[in-house]
Amino acid sequence: MDLSFTAEERAFRDEMRDFFHTAIPERIRRKLREGLHHSNDDQIETQRILNARGIAVPNWPVAWGGQDWSPVQIYMWQDEMQQACVPFPLAFNCSMVGPVIAEFATEEHKQRFLPRAANLDDWWCQGFSEPGAGSDLASLRTTAVRDGDEWVINGQKTWTTLGQYADWIFVLARTDMAAKKQEGISFLLVDMKTPGITVRPIQTIDGGHEVNEVWFDEVRVPAGNLVGQENKGWDYAKFLLGNERTGIARIGISKSRIKRIRELAAFERVGEGRLIDEPKFREKLASVEIDLKALEMTQMRVVAQERTLPRGKPNPMSSVLKIKGSELQQATTELMMDVIGPYVAPFFTEEELEGRNEPPIGPDDAATAAPMYFNWRKISIYGGSNEIQRNILAKAVLGF
């Protein structure tokens, strides 16, 4: 048992850190640091820089641009990227559809889609959730019916993140209506320009537009857009969801939020002193940091188990990372609210913030504190709510 990093691992970490700080424009990283959304152009620019360096999709097979990294290296790459406030390579491309295509699709699909996905030449979005199928994803009702050389898709998807920018969507649709719930689902790739697709924005309580409803009305896609086998889509979806085993805690993001909180609290005056010097505030902050340190160690333990687990098989310990990771991300938003104090109140749209010619009201980041607090409530809901994570642990670990 050796609980410190090797010299090689530390060197790798330094290399990643340097690269992220020097190669990714400060203009982009500043936005994330201050709690603003980055634009889709920022996303594309960043991912192409990473891809040029060969580190946009390290978890893919080497043949398709991946890296033969150890789990520790993957973790360091991710953590340093988050700490440096670098927009993460688009998850729908890199963590979701890419690995599924690489694992299950035809060679033709791979050649056609993988390089473009890695370089964000195609922007993918996810067509999984439906209004009636949230935590209970397998109850989805969107259908795809074979008609000659085409699939005809009808139904409605929701919570489609950044669907407004997407070129392609990967869709779970029911292709065997008679089969049991999880059976009879297929995994289809759909060009967003196909007639019959309507994207309707959903405005979230922070005022932003991140998610959408996507309607399919007699949408015809070529039969060849089916991934893998017909009616095996649920297996691919499980593979997709099971792949994200360690990054789910987003510890680097919480760390960068805490760093920002400390910076701002050093400028905030309380009576004669500074907020950062108030014992009570410091202890609240330290409490969150201690939990985060524990979670980081927990994550390292999960990372260390990675070697022993097959790809795509979920590790129930990921549920621990998801539960605590989401709680801590949310805790950082509450700490930021404490820092900003009464100045959380003024509301401005992102457009107003970015183009503003009037001075901001209150301390730096005041305008993003409440929207982030509101928006990040989603973290304990999406990707398998924390209640679902507890169900998983109850069954898989405790044996109930």
């Binding site: 209970d136 405005q203 309580i205 905030e268 009576g271 109140a345 709510s385």
Partner: protein, 374 residues
């Protein structure tokens, strides 16, 4: 000890609840907010007509002669409706200051206009670095030839963008954080340098700069006691408002749990979610109790006792409200994250109430310094 309402109180309750039920549904509220000022003058007139604006004023001032209980009933109903009209700024803060600090003549001059809905007020008090210190006043007022002029910058002035007159705190003596030497002035809003904006919870506020701006009246040259008393009453008001919002969040959650199906059954059949809805209920009832306590103590003459009780209530409401709001979102799931669904709006209002006039930590420290809550 008697929790029953008098006939008059029941009448007010019925009247305000009917107004909210009839005119303040989710879609109606959206429509009201689409007015250029962010709220509805027509609704304001209706509130005046129902006697809500003057409910706490003497009958001589066009009021109803009510007390904290009557105000609490309105606040709770407004909390359920997420009312956006400037009641809090005009009636609770503005008129509250005039009632507590103004002379008989001043009260007679201003209050009837408030009661009738003609006069909108705002309280320009907070400054950038005041944080939670109510006595932090750096703006100054100086007198020359019997005219007071005010210089300084006021921030986060609730409904300051549409107020006809602004009550401004400004220092006439002492250091920035002294309790003594804070004057209270009435300034006509015409020509004021105001920058209005929306707030996270759909209310309005403004930054206001005063530059040798003349006051039309002096309410007090030692205004801190009136400010403290008014703010305590204002906290009691938002506590009751929060209870209204929490009650709505709770009932929405329970209703949703009974209809939303996942895994082949209503999610309300899952015991773990039931227990969490129960914990929301316990928090709601504890909050309701503290809003009653705040109401009971809102006009307590002993300022220290009053402040201790009000701070205790603010802590309880802040904590319970946060817990109820977060659970309401979580138990609904994604739907509650959308602007199209009502729960998120209550959550935002609760969040802003927690930060208003001192957050939970601030009031907890006050209670602790004062020797506890019992």
């Amino acid at each position: 000890m008697d929790f029953d309402l008098s006939d008059d109180q029941r009448m007010i309750k019925d009247s305000v609840e009917r107004l909210i039920a009839d005119r303040y549904g989710f879609e109606s509220r959206r429509a009201l907010m689409r007015n250029p000022e962010g709220w509805s003058r027509e609704m304001w007139a209706q509130m005046a007509e129902l006697g809500l604006l003057g409910v706490a004023f003497d009958e001589a001032h066009g009021g109803f002669g009510g007390g904290p209980v009557e105000t609490m009933l309105i606040a709770e109903a407004f909390g359920r409706g997420l009312v956006v009209e400037p009641y809090f700024a005009t009636v609770v803060l503005g008129a509250g200051l005039i009632r507590r600090a103004g002379s008989a003549d001043q009260q007679a001059a201003y209050l009837p206009q408030v009661a009738s809905g003609e006069l909108l007020l705002a309280f320009a008090h907070h400054e950038r670095h005041a944080r939670n210190d109510l006595a932090h006043v750096a703006a100054t007022a100086t007198e020359q030839d019997g005219v007071w002029t005010i210089t300084g910058e006021k921030s986060l002035v609730l409904h300051g963008d549409t107020a006809d007159k602004v009550i401004v705190s400004a220092r006439v003596a002492g250091e920035t954080t002294d309790h003594n030497g804070i004057g209270l002035f009435v300034v006509d809003a015409v020509g004021l340098n105001r920058r209005g904006y929306a707030t996270q919870d759909g209310q309005r506020a403004a930054e206001i700069a005063f530059d040798a701006t003349p006051a039309e009246a002096v309410l007090s040259l030692d205004g801190f006691p009136a400010i403290a008393a008014t703010v305590d009453a204002a906290i009691a008001f938002v506590c009751a408002e929060a209870v209204g919002g929490m009650a709505e969040m709770h009932s929405s959650t329970v209703d949703y749990m009974k209809t939303r199906k996942q895994f082949g059954r209503a999610i309300g059949e899952f015991q773990v979610l039931q227990h969490r809805a129960v914990d929301m209920f316990v928090n709601l009832e504890q909050s309701r109790s503290m809003a009653l306590y705040a109401t009971m103590m809102a006009e307590e003459p002993d300022a220290a006792e009053r402040a201790r009780a009000i701070s205790s209530a603010k802590v309880a409401i802040g904590r319970n409200g946060r817990a109820v709001g977060q659970e309401a979102i979580q138990l609904h799931g994604g739907i509650a994250m959308t602007m199209e669904y009502k729960v998120g709006h209550y959550f935002k209002r609760m969040t802003m109430i927690e930060k208003l006039f001192g957050d939970t930590e601030h009031h907890l420290a006050k209670v602790a310094q004062a020797g506890g809550a019992l």
